[in-house]
């Protein structure tokens, strides 16, 4: 029997069946894999936070090696002594604060409402680390990351990631040669808070000057670099009241 595929009724029927089948497949897949995917995201966030704190398996000068997923949950529990949520200027402990969707909270804050800002306090070998998340816009899509500072508000580590920056250009924000440049810079100076800026042509490509609150930009990735600067600035502005408290304690 030859099908008459040109009939309108057939076309409609075909589309209805196609959409139902495809919808069913995708829905089944999404629900079936949800737990596994959430677990992977949990591990990833834990790995990122620990990485910013300086806990990683880096073996050379160029590659990023996280704590393996099999260990990360345990290490995270050991090293992160406190997970807090800052709301109304008050920091209250909250379990799994790292699973907070920062984008949503920042949107709330932007629209004048009260958002929750997660903050993590890590301890290792007697040193305390304050780790806060960042979220912003790159050239194509979202960029985000974590920054870890010590009690004197000197950066001990950062981690950046992105959704869709150009490979070889903006995507390099997650490379060691870019992230490592931030280590040692201070987010506070005598004149106030100094969000680290990504700048072109500061004649310091190796970033030996740690007091200028500047790191060398990535060639060909101006907008992503500006996005990183803006993201750091925004996060530091939001966390400033809390940093004030940390400073007054020392």
């Amino acid at each position: 029997m030859a099908l008459n595929t040109d009939k309108n009724s057939y076309t409609v029927l075909f589309s209805v069946i196609m959409v139902s089948v495809v919808g069913a497949i995708l829905a089944y897949l999404a629900t079936g894999l949800k737990d596994k995917i959430t677990e992977n995201q949990r591990f990833e966030k834990q790995q990122n936070i620990l990485y910013a704190m300086g806990v990683h398996n880096n073996t050379d000068e160029s590659s990023v090696n996280f704590i393996p997923t099999t260990e990360v949950d345990q290490r995270f529990g050991e090293l992160i002594k406190g997970q807090y949520v800052i709301q109304d200027g008050e920091a209250t402990p909250q379990e799994d604060a790292f699973m907070i969707d920062l984008k949503k909270e920042l949107d709330l804050i932007k629209s004048g409402k009260d958002g929750k800002l997660p903050l993590f306090i890590g301890e290792q070998e007697g040193k305390t680390y304050y780790i806060f998340p960042m979220y912003g816009k790159g050239l194509w899509d979202a960029i985000w990351g974590y920054m870890s500072v010590d009690e004197s508000l000197t950066i001990t580590g950062v981690y950046f990631d992105h959704k869709g920056e150009t490979p070889g250009l903006g995507a390099n924000i997650k490379m060691r040669f870019f992230m490592d440049d931030f280590i040692g810079e201070s987010i506070v100076s005598d004149t106030g808070y100094t969000p680290i800026e990504v700048v072109k042509g500061n004649n310091d490509p190796l970033n030996t000057d740690k007091s200028d609150a500047q790191v060398d930009a990535l060639a060909g990735a101006t907008i992503t670099g500006n996005g990183v600067s803006a993201m750091i600035k925004e996060s530091i502005r939001l966390y400033e009241p809390y940093f004030e408290k940390v400073r007054s304690l020392n």
Partner: protein
């Protein structure tokens, strides 16, 4: 009997050279520009397209007699998009690291005109096995160009291959850099891909003048 008949192996081999989707048909150029700044991204993209085009061609070929011709392009899009999302979700669950590398390419794969082109030009009119071979052949032809372009762009633009420095350290001035060699920043921006593809087209047509179109 050989594994593939002469006609069948032609399906695979033709797109690798004389009917290459990028250099001859000039399809899929946008993704060739976007992701070839690094060799690793080129390889990931080549493998993804191989998978999606091979499988997609089979699916479309199996459905070829029941697809209403009025909405065939939409049906093709749905098939590619579904395949890509299935792959993406599965990787997210079982190979999270790999899926992060791939996430950038998902949109690029769906809109890749080579895929739509093969569905439309081949799979709609041929059986599943031949369509599969055609898909594999075209994906390989696309992948080969991507990898060649990625190789030169990463080597000349960043002095690395797969992220590993091969020409020395540009900042500490070791290796080739000690003799005044500099990375060519132009190579990592998208227009450089056009130039590399252009040179490939030139070489290919110079070797085989029958490929040159009449002016």
């Amino acid at each position: 009997m050989p594994l593939l008949s002469k006609k069948e192996s032609k399906l695979i081999l033709d797109p690798l050279a004389d009917n290459n989707p990028i250099t001859i048909q000039v399809l899929g150029i946008c993704s060739a520009l976007a992701i070839t700044a690094e060799l690793k991204a080129s390889v990931v993209m080549a493998v993804s397209v191989l998978f999606v085009l091979g499988l997609g061609n089979v699916v479309i070929s199996l459905m070829r007699n029941i697809i209403p011709s009025k909405i065939r392009i939409i049906v093709q899009l749905v098939v590619v998009a579904t395949l890509v999302i299935v792959v993406d979700q599965t990787l997210k669950a079982f190979a999270y690291e790999l899926s992060k590398t791939l996430s950038v390419f998902v949109g690029l794969i769906i809109t890749n005109c080579i895929i739509m082109g093969r569905f439309e030009a081949f799979a709609l009119g041929n059986g599943p096995w031949r369509s599969f071979l055609d898909g594999i052949g075209n994906a390989l032809g696309y992948g080969v160009i991507l990898i060649i372009v990625g190789f030169f762009r990463e080597l000349l633009g960043s002095g690395t291959l797969f992220g590993i420095p091969v020409l020395g350290d540009p900042i500490a001035k070791t290796g080739l850099y000690a003799y005044g060699y500099e990375n060519n920043g132009f190579m990592i921006i998208p227009p450089a891909a056009l130039i590399v593809v252009g040179i490939l087209i030139w070489i290919q047509r110079a070797k085989n003048p029958s490929l040159v179109e009449e002016a």
